[in-house]
């Protein structure tokens, strides 16, 4: 039982046509297995987080009670992307599991919305946000290694508090970015195979093998998103992550949570004494 379905083209070529649809269930089961293992670990085995104490003094009173984390623009992007992503997943996979409806038009409309929102995000993140805040840095790598060593009972210094985003968050963003680019780029080409308002249909744009590989990549990225999104929603509703989730709704997090989890020297917030202009450091 392969993960790719093959067919013989009219020219006698053995070509892939799409993924095997059982991968939908593999993705769901993988996500559920991760959830269960993680929930059990957190409930019964996880220790209280330990962070290295910061030698530099920090005047917490200078912080606002609500620390800005995400601007309205960034939040709008997130929720538009989330809505289009869910619409894409439902329109792609519900028909494959027996819920039949006219899905193609909804799918490419949602895909167009996702593409536009990602283009906006690239520009917004590159020029109007702290671009590097979402990418792992050396401190993340060093702290990750220390956390791994401590997990296995070895002696290692405690990690520093997080910058704006924990390493897991950054890695998740990287996975979503790669998977998202895969579905968007293949999806744009696949729109040449159906009737849309954007360009004339051209099924001969690529050869059968290239088209087949494109469908396979689109499918693999699609089922990958099933796992990624289930895991994302799981973390969003975990009790210890709720302040971060709330930040994506209201744009801020409490000063206490900020001080508990984040390192002011790695994610600086403009203090109350500084002028208001440019004081919102959240993206």
């Amino acid at each position: 039982m392969g993960i790719v379905q093959w067919a013989t083209s009219p020219l006698g070529q053995h070509v892939p046509i799409h993924i095997a649809w059982f991968l939908i269930w593999v993705a769901v089961i993988a996500a559920m297995a991760f959830l269960i293992v993680h929930a059990i670990y957190m409930r019964f085995f996880a220790k209280e987080k330990e962070f290295a104490t910061d030698p530099k003094s920090f005047d917490a009173a200078q912080l606002p009670a609500r620390v800005p984390r995400h601007s309205l623009t960034a939040r709008l992007f997130h929720w538009v992307m989330a809505a289009s992503m869910l619409a894409l997943l439902f329109t792609a996979f519900l028909p494959k599991v027996g819920v039949q409806f006219d899905w193609v038009e909804y799918h490419w409309i949602a895909g167009t919305l996702l593409t536009l929102s990602i283009l906006f995000h690239i520009v917004h993140a590159s020029f109007f946000m702290d671009f590097w805040s979402i990418w792992p840095d050396r401190t993340d790598m060093r702290d990750a290694w220390n956390r791994v060593q401590r997990f296995f009972g070895q002696s290692a210094p405690p990690p520093r508090k997080f910058s704006k985003y924990p390493l897991e968050n950054k890695l998740y963003h990287g996975a979503v970015m790669l998977t998202g680019l895969a579905v968007v780029i293949t999806g744009i080409f696949m729109m040449f195979r159906v009737r849309t308002i954007f360009f004339p249909r051209n099924p001969y744009l690529f050869g059968d093998m290239t088209w087949g590989l494109m469908y396979v990549l689109h499918g693999l990225a699609g089922v990958g998103f099933i796992t990624l999104i289930i895991v994302h929603i799981y973390f969003a509703v975990r009790p210890e992550k709720l302040p971060i989730t709330a930040g994506m709704l209201v744009g801020t997090m409490s000063r206490e949570f900020y001080l508990k989890e984040h390192d002011p020297s790695r994610w600086s917030i403009k203090s109350l004494n500084q002028p208001q202009r440019g004081s919102v450091d959240g993206d």
């Binding site: 067919a7 009219p10 046509i17 028909p95 039949q100 006219d102 899905w103």
Partner: protein
């Protein structure tokens, strides 16, 4: 590809004698089963070796599914009743002439002697790319070979094409829709009765199926209510040859008149899309109007709104427009003024 003809692949032949047994066998075999009624569709698939089912469920021994029975409110026709029996049945001929006429135009006498009513409405599409075993959308692939710049698509869809442009080729289906027939289906959950137009599926809903039958489902009979008995009927089939050919388009209408006005009407066209289309917008537009050429003209124009021709089938648009016009006025081409 279909290079080995007439040598069917090996399969298990199952010959139930009751509807319950037949349905159970289909349920047990699931996707691996093929239904055999008259064999006019099934044997093509088998002899071309395009489909290689594990089991073939032969319905010819299920007597419950054969014959035409009078109901208190109409008729019930068993799904494996032959088309010849339908054509020759006195009640069908007298009161439901639309169906008799449609059935009489299916293929050839030999095929009508063997082909069944259930098989005629449930047959697969005749798109040759699909039937040749090419990996098109309908076969589970990712392309429609007919909808390419050089695809041979003279017989294909002008309406409701969604990736796949194949059409439904049944002659009796539009007649049954016009007669407001109900299809009786035995499913693993029990009996289900659906309106004729709801029996058929377009590619926008499921690109691999022509009707709502799922593995384990069995069409057992077709009920025709007396609502449209003795109405004014019109059926016309356009095809390349007068015998043994599939429709390029066909149309069926049933009209009730009140004085000179159209009191009620049902119109259905087939071979224009992947499913027979009931033209509800046209029905609504002509209801209450005089049955004359101007109403027919208006109906024809309305019917083809949204039609999107392919490379070689633009002729179907004026053809459908004229067929709808004629189906309203009840005048065939030869006598058209």
């Amino acid at each position: 590809m279909a290079v080995i003809r007439d040598v069917m692949p090996a399969f298990q032949l199952l010959q139930p004698t009751s509807i319950a047994d037949a349905q159970k066998l289909l349920e047990n075999q699931g996707h691996e089963a093929m239904v055999l009624a008259g064999g006019m569709d099934a044997f093509d698939w088998l002899k071309d070796r395009i489909r290689k089912p594990r089991a073939v469920v032969d319905l010819s021994g299920v007597e419950e599914m054969r014959g035409i029975r009078a109901l208190s409110d109409g008729l019930e026709i068993g799904a494996i009743t032959t088309l010849t029996e339908v054509v020759n049945h006195p009640v069908v001929t007298e009161h439901y002439g639309l169906l008799a006429q449609a059935a009489s135009l299916v293929a050839s006498p030999q095929i009508r002697n063997q082909g069944t009513l259930g098989g005629n409405v449930s047959q697969d599409t005749r798109c040759w790319y699909y039937r040749a075993g090419w990996p098109c959308y309908r076969a589970g692939g990712n392309i429609c070979y007919a909808d390419t710049p050089v695809g041979r698509n003279r017989e294909h869809a002008i309406l409701h094409a969604e990736r796949c442009v194949a059409v439904n080729a049944s002659d009796t289906a539009p007649a049954l829709i016009a007669l407001d027939a109900k299809f009786v289906i035995r499913t693993p959950q029990g009996e289900r009765v659906v309106n004729a137009e709801d029996y058929f599926l377009g590619p926008e809903i499921d690109i691999t199926r022509m009707n709502i039958l799922k593995p384990g489902d069995l069409l057992t009979s077709i009920r025709i209510p007396s609502t449209w008995a003795d109405a004014q009927f019109f059926f016309e089939k356009i095809c390349d040859r007068n015998v043994w050919d599939f429709p390029l388009l066909n149309i069926a209408s049933a009209i009730k008149l009140s004085a000179d006005a159209i009191q009620d009407v049902r119109i259905s066209v087939n071979a224009a899309a992947a499913r027979p289309l009931r033209l509800k917008a046209v029905e609504d537009a002509v209801r209450g109007r005089a049955r004359d050429a101007s109403t027919g003209e208006m109906a024809g124009k309305l019917a083809v709104q949204g039609a999107a021709p392919l490379q070689f089938n633009a002729y179907k648009i004026p053809l459908m427009r004229n067929l709808v016009k004629r189906s309203i006025t009840g005048v065939k081409e030869a006598s058209w003024a």
